[in-house]
């Protein structure tokens, strides 16, 4: 269905090809998962299928890409629109019209599908994706999972034979991600659609894949094969595969179910052992103190009677579905919303919404969901100089942090040209320049591969050890299990759970990490804990197990 014949892509003024030696075939009706570290050319490969590379992006494509027998060399993207449906990383950037129903019809209108057929297919697609109740809703009012489903629906209506998706579940909470994956599963099995998708969150998707296409490193030829075989040699792999490496299961299981069936022996070996206890915070004055907080936006109560105290050395994960009020809580802690009732205080009794921004910066720092909001300058070096000036830090303080977090980035690079993970690291360095005792992060792992996540986790752990406190809002259960000593779950603006990570997370079907599901009822959360216990060592296990979310 999709055929690459010795394809290489070189962008204008790039030294090395973004993609080279790609020679493969994706069969009809297959769900093929594209994996690999950030920056290996996954998006380039996906966009070559729909013809956006090179027709839209420029650059030179050597070799031949054919989709359903059509050569992308002679067919620009609009002439492939009836066989390939493409959804990029940000569904909002994909929408052309303003309501759900019009959006579903847009692609068919462009292709000249007869009116009766259009009407029928829109109704069918509304049902297939569970969007019937939303048909008249403006797109701007939809939640993240709903947007992603509408975006998929909007490319499904022309009945493409190939669906190309770039990180369809990265920005979604676990439940919304399952909604989307269930739809894809149905398309592949019921309609025989061929799906090619890239995704960093392997733990969510790998069990659905028929084959995995691995791009191991920039410039290296891809490997296409059976998921278990490919992942066993992949630099990126989900926790179950990492656990399999530890337990010696061959070939590695891909789903929690398969792993659990083989885990009886491992559970036996772990019987009676406990994970190394996390270093408990040594008390101290609260760095974040929220009592009875209610926040209104317009007339809606976004947060209601929320209480939360975070002390030095603590790392707290804030979880809950999209729209539960996580971001609002973080913003209120930075004084961007004034409380309607209750109180918020930072260290030294500072009240954020009354504080001067310059004073606030020395008490708390927030890395927002989109780090671009924080970056104003044209080069990394200028951004660092500005951060030093903002924070009143010694010149070079920010540059030193950047050198540690982003050793590979040139000083004169434009912040917008960095990858998502690099931008996040730059924003983190900018915020850390003022050394705020409380560090807040909003959804920090969007678009990060396992290696970048690991680097981030290392930095955050170090900060907590130095006596900072970290509060991170995240959908990433593996990261929360790995980092956080405590988890707070928000639902509809109220705190519904607050306790040690193991207690809160293990009981929940959507918030439990894979290791906990495999080894339940044992108290294990991460591969690193298991590895440490098996070697009979309490601490210092983190360096040994690479991969996984540890």
């Amino acid at each position: 269905m999709i055929r690459f014949e010795d394809v290489s892509v070189t962008y204008a003024d790039a030294a090395a090809p973004a993609l080279s030696g790609v020679d493969l075939t994706v069969e009809e009706g297959e769900l093929c998962l594209l994996v690999g570290p950030s920056g290996v050319g996954k998006s380039t490969l996906l966009n070559a299928v729909c013809g956006l590379v090179p027709h839209f992006t420029g650059g030179t494509l050597r070799g031949r890409v054919t989709v359903a027998g059509r050569d992308t060399r002679t067919h620009p993207p609009r002439d492939l629109a009836d066989v390939v449906g493409t959804v990029g990383q940000d569904p909002l950037a994909h929408f052309v019209t303003s309501t759900v129903e019009d959006e579903l019809a847009y692609g068919m209108e462009s292709l000249g599908v007869p009116r009766d057929t259009m009407r029928r297919r829109v109704e069918e697609t509304l049902d297939l994706l569970g969007l019937a109740d939303l048909r008249d809703r403006p797109l701007a009012t939809l939640s993240g999972g709903q947007r992603q489903r509408v975006a998929i629906g909007s490319v499904l209506t022309p009945h493409p034979r190939v669906l190309v998706l770039d990180e369809p579940t990265s920005a979604l909470d676990p439940a919304a991600a399952e909604e989307v994956l269930a739809v894809l599963q149905r398309l592949v099995h019921d309609l025989g659609t061929t799906v090619l998708m890239a995704e960093h969150r392997l733990e969510r998707v790998v069990q659905y894949a028929d084959r995995v296409l691995l791009l191991p490193a920039p410039g290296e030829p891809p490997v296409l094969g059976d998921p278990a075989a490919v992942l066993a040699r992949s630099p990126v792999r989900p926790p179950v595969v990492a656990l399999a490496g530890l337990a010696g299961w061959e070939p590695p299981p891909l789903s929690v179910r398969d792993a659990r069936r083989r885990a009886a022996g491992l559970r036996g070996r772990l019987d009676g052992l406990r994970p190394a206890p996390a270093a408990s915070p040594d008390g101290g004055a609260a760095l974040l103190d929220v009592r009875g907080l209610t926040v209104r936006r317009g007339r809606a109560e976004v947060l209601r009677d929320v209480g939360l105290v975070v002390r030095p050395g603590e790392t707290v994960a804030l979880m809950g579905r999209n729209g539960a009020g996580k971001t609002t809580l973080l913003r209120t802690l930075m004084g961007m919303h004034a409380p309607a009732a209750g109180s918020v205080t930072l260290a030294d009794g500072l009240v954020p919404h009354r504080a001067e921004p310059a004073a606030l910066l020395r008490h708390a720092g927030l890395v927002p969901q989109d780090p671009r909001d924080l970056l104003y300058e044209e080069t990394v070096a200028a951004e660092c100089a500005a951060a030093d000036a903002d924070a009143g830090a010694a010149p070079g303080a920010c540059a030193a942090l950047v050198a540690r977090l982003l050793p590979e980035v040139r000083r004169e690079a434009h912040p917008r040209d960095l990858s998502e993970g690099q931008r996040l690291a730059l924003a983190l360095a900018v915020v850390l320049t003022a050394a705020p005792p409380a560090l807040l992060l909003d959804e920090p792992t969007r678009g990060l591969d396992y290696a970048a996540k690991e680097r981030l986790a290392g930095v955050l752990r170090e900060l907590a050890d130095e006596g900072h406190c970290v509060l991170l809002a995240t959908h990433d259960v593996e990261l929360a299990a790995d980092l956080a000593s405590r988890v707070v779950v928000l639902a509809d603006g109220e705190v519904v759970a607050d306790g040690p990570t193991a207690e809160v997370v293990v009981g929940s079907p959507s918030f439990a990490p894979q290791v906990a599901k495999v080894l339940a009822p044992g108290p294990w959360l991460t591969v690193a804990q298991v590895a440490g216990a098996l070697r009979g060592v309490g601490g210092g296990v983190r360096d040994d197990v690479r991969g996984g979310a540890s």
Partner: protein, 368 residues
């Protein structure tokens, strides 16, 4: 009886956006034919009542208030100019004498300040009121007709331009929300998030972001088939251009003739010929476009009634302007109290029909 009463609006029975525009243009044409303040006030009242009765909660529906303010501004501006610069009307009733600014010889015929005559001020106010009523009628159409749906009704040849306009319309609000968001984020860098400087410093990143988004949208549209065309012979292409251009010139000249009152004789035929030519051009041009339309607004009985009521208002006013010219355009010199012309007023009241027959929108249905 229940079959006649207006149903609740849904997507299926939505009134054709073009019907609202025809209705509003009818009212505007009527307003352009009179300077009788009573009639103009009646036109504005009718437009306002229909808007109040049939507008939705959508963002564009809030535009009507803006047009009312714009109308008031036009009247005030016209009167201020008449006081400051004098009026060619002349007159005998002296209101006040302002100090006159001495001007050099080459500016003969222009004066600033000097004697202010009541006739000139009244004439300017009525003239301003007429323009304001015209603007308010257009504002009513803007508030009642969904601009995106109107563009959907455009002929195929114009569809791509229509999409570009829709995209541009969503661009501006997006830009505003970007500016506000980035300005707030300045707080996170320890910078002031208030004052004019905070706006200036986020301008560049906001524009960069907007540009990135536009490129992403263009890629998405291309990948979804935007701009697919069918092959057309060159002769047809040339004929299309000639017909469309000629038609548009005819429409412009014709509407000028109609609105300018002096040219009513050649205005209508010219307008009709222009419309015919342009329609031909657009139909021919549509052959290049392979696209279809999803659920276009249907032109049903209610659309005929709404558009017809507008035409009736314009027609009655045009007839009254011939039959009773003095009542419709009361002379400013000498000053007189305007009469109330019953026939023209009845005609304007016909413009209330849409408030009865157009489907009633469900308030609170849009957004959350």
């Amino acid at each position: 009886m229940s079959a006649v009463r207006a149903p609740l609006a849904t997507r299926g029975n939505a009134l054709h956006a073009g019907a609202w525009w025809l209705w509003a243009l009818g009212l505007a044409t009527a307003a352009s034919r009179t300077t009788n303040p009573l009639l103009l006030a009646l036109v504005v009242a009718v437009a306002g009542y229909v808007v109040a009765a049939r507008r939705t909660d959508a963002p564009w529906a809030r535009a009507f208030g803006f047009y009312l303010a714009l109308g008031a501004f036009v009247v005030v501006l016209r009167v201020v100019f008449a006081i400051a610069l004098g009026s060619p009307i002349g007159g005998t009733t002296l209101l006040v004498t302002l100090p006159e600014v001495p001007l050099p010889d080459w500016a003969a015929g222009v004066r600033i300040g000097g004697r202010v005559m009541a006739e000139g001020v009244v004439f300017a106010a009525l003239d301003g009121l007429r323009l304001a009523a015209l603007l308010i009628c257009l504002g009513a159409a803007n508030a009642l007709a969904d601009p995106a749906r109107l563009l959907k009704s455009l002929p195929g040849a114009l569809y791509e331009i229509g999409v570009a306009v829709v995209v541009a319309m969503t661009f501006a609000p997006q830009l505003v929300s970007d500016v506000l968001r980035m300005r707030e984020a300045r707080r996170l860098r320890g910078r002031r998030d208030r004052g004019a400087r905070s706006f200036l410093q986020v301008a560049r990143p906001v524009l960069e972001g907007a540009l990135e988004r536009s490129v992403a949208l263009a890629a998405a549209m291309d990948a979804r088939g935007y701009g697919r065309t069918a092959a057309v012979p060159p002769g047809v292409r040339r004929a299309t251009s000639a017909l469309t251009l000629g038609g548009l010139v005819g429409v412009c000249a014709g509407s000028y003739g109609l609105l300018a009152a002096e040219g009513a004789l050649y205005g209508l035929p010219l307008l009709l010929a222009g419309v015919a030519a342009a329609t031909g051009g657009l139909l021919l041009g549509g052959r290049r476009v392979a696209r279809t339309r999803y659920r276009p607004d249907r032109w049903g009985a209610r659309a005929w009634l709404v558009a017809g009521s507008g035409a009736l208002v314009a027609g009655v006013m045009a007839y009254a302007a011939g039959a009773d010219a003095a009542a419709l355009n009361p002379p400013a010199v000498p000053l007189s109290v305007p009469h109330f012309p019953p026939l023209a007023a009845l005609g304007v009241l016909a413009g209330l029909l849409p408030a009865l027959v157009a489907p009633r929108p469900v308030r609170g249905a849009v957004g959350r």
